[in-house]
Chain length 458, copies 2
Amino acid sequence: MKIITILLPLFFTITLFSQSDKEMFKKIFNTTMSSSSSYELLDYLSNEIGGRLSGSLNAERAVKWGQEELSKSGFDKVWLQKLMVPKWVRGPKEFALIETQPGVTFNVDACALGGSVATPSVGIKANVIEVKSFKELEELGKEKVDGKIVFFNRPMRSDLISTFQAYGEAVNQRTNGAAEAVKYGAIGVIVRSMSLRLDDNPHTGTMSYGNLPNSRKIPAAAISTNAAEKLSDLLVINPKLKFLLRQQCKQYKDVVSHNVIAEIKGSEYPDEIILIGGHLDSWDLGDGSHDDGAGIVQSMDILNIFNKMDYVPKRTIRIVLFMNEENGTRGAKKYSEVAKKNNLNHIFALESDAGGFTPRGFSFTSNTENFNMIQSWKKLFEPYLIHSFLLGGSGADIAPLENGNNVLAGLRPDSQRYFDYHHASIDTFDAINKRELELGAFAMTSLVYLFDKYGIVK
Amino acid sequence: MKIITILLPLFFTITLFSQSDKEMFKKIFNTTMSSSSSYELLDYLSNEIGGRLSGSLNAERAVKWGQEELSKSGFDKVWLQKLMVPKWVRGPKEFALIETQPGVTFNVDACALGGSVATPSVGIKANVIEVKSFKELEELGKEKVDGKIVFFNRPMRSDLISTFQAYGEAVNQRTNGAAEAVKYGAIGVIVRSMSLRLDDNPHTGTMSYGNLPNSRKIPAAAISTNAAEKLSDLLVINPKLKFLLRQQCKQYKDVVSHNVIAEIKGSEYPDEIILIGGHLDSWDLGDGSHDDGAGIVQSMDILNIFNKMDYVPKRTIRIVLFMNEENGTRGAKKYSEVAKKNNLNHIFALESDAGGFTPRGFSFTSNTENFNMIQSWKKLFEPYLIHSFLLGGSGADIAPLENGNNVLAGLRPDSQRYFDYHHASIDTFDAINKRELELGAFAMTSLVYLFDKYGIVK
């Protein structure tokens, strides 16, 4: 049997771009790939400043650096927006081990989760109960859990093409594991790191105790995926093994920090704001090159690229380096609060906070009319292998700006490696590829150009 | 001015796939991402065998390994196809330096190009003339070139989205630089490494003297991109500087080697062959994980994946591990020669030889009828972010099988990082991401499934 295919695609499409847009894309591409400053900026942020958790001295150095660098780029003004941020400090390196019998121990790569309380100075040592879900925890109940350390070991699913979806489906173990486990008398929580790779790197990240009083808070740590596999194997052989965890992290009172904002007024529509941003804070283990140094420098690069092309924006362009995305999103809250109070009209906001890898597309929060317009632009991006324009989601820092009329977008780089680095000590500058980073800046600048030229459907 | 977009895409398309194909894709995806053997196979090939230049002991170990591994996978037969290959040996590490004045020197990271002759044992030392093209070389002529070392320093273009195109436009400096330079009396050639990244790694690769007699062959080496930048800068300050190159590489007589071939007869159309392959040889500097260990293990994985799904191919599936792609393509020549002699009907051949990165699509050599069919399949791939189906090119090892009726294809992974590693000492297993490698195996298996099910238009 032979099958003959007949293909008759008929398009009646009014596309919303012109030949000059195609040429403009080529110009943006050439300018970015030949004289982008993203890589150089990131080199400084990552290697000279480094990890910059909210409330840390490094975070303040990053604020100062961001303000200074943006001041060189020809914005009309650059300013700091004051806000209060949580201050959590990891303290000395955590210590953890598995004791299968007295004197027989295996060291474990562990790190406190952000926001966790410390253990007593000698640590906690207890039997371990392994669970894959909160439901399983509930079924075990107080009888099986009381006095133990709960080990959350549900891996991220490998059979999803979007690693962000896999992360989303697994991360409640980290964010709410302690609050759930304490209900059944657990004295501590260890969580399999949120990574798809088997290695020795523990991945930190935010967690919350909800409304628990201080007296009921139990320490929570991540262990590496290799350690999780090993612990799980050993528990089969010896369910009575003990786990020792020692960590000296501490939550301090909130401290002052800042968003960094730069603005250039639009030449034709100064009241229509286009915002581009990422978050300036990072976790403390690595230097935050992918999360979210990449998004910061790509955002900062956009006006440089426009300037090099002598492109004068018609609408007002704002670059915002948000503070405290990782453990509070206080910067996002402050920014949107002030924007609402001042009736600012953000027609479009774009966030890059998914790593510095090859851009595959964007996701959008948009009404149908605007999304139709956006989809008609896709053809401009396809020659640069940017194919994926999806509805659904933008970024944590810009999401509060949604008003039903405007458009929000998130850059979507290739996600396959992202969670290898995310929140771990290996999220460092050497994991960044210059071209991939620059291609992200190109994609962002091109999308900003289109919104600057065409605005949104009202 | 507001522009309203109207989008009325009307499709009258007869698509050549069914709901069951969608489900089959999901099944192939899940099977691959949960139990692919690609990563484990590559771990062995890269870390236990390593670099495997044609004619080397390692290449023979790789042949033996390939034969043994394929014999475990349920093929009807696995055999070796004998052929003669060139044997070129690098010898001790090359030595190179720039001497700006007697006693003032800078070491240079260099490596002999594959096929180059050695220098005298004390090396060659001469003034340097930098050129960007053969045209420039010709314009300089014998007067300016005679007795010097020619330095080819045209960088790969950064303003091309396809790094393979950038490579293609620059690589003649490496392949033919020596043969061109000798016309004007050059005594040696150094070439800027074929890489888009500025770093210290020299990249080897094949070169040819054409029909030059042995007495006229001059040594040719690559220097790292950083060294090329430095040399170029120093030449501006001091055009009289000298360059010293010492290398002890040697071309031996051809030796025996093998293609490794595995076959399972089709249950319905045994005379229609689907070939999947990559090349088993690699350069000697790294362990050849991306070039082309990745393609080898992805090809070897396909029947494993089918077996795990209890999928029985309707057409004959052949896996071919080609020998000597890097410096002679003798394996490809031998294979196609024997195939023609035996009137074998290769309806489809697929090669993976562009690295183990996230797959972006395929390129095809195909007539219009078949390409229409292929394009109708694109929708099956898009949920897995495989968007790019292009006409033009497949792979060096399968290209000789083209007959105007059949379809040839090459896997096209993300190419942005590829030339950072290509032919350099850093093309090693740690540069491979397990998921990205497996996604390539998934993409290949899925395409093979479709050709196995639907065949080609005749």
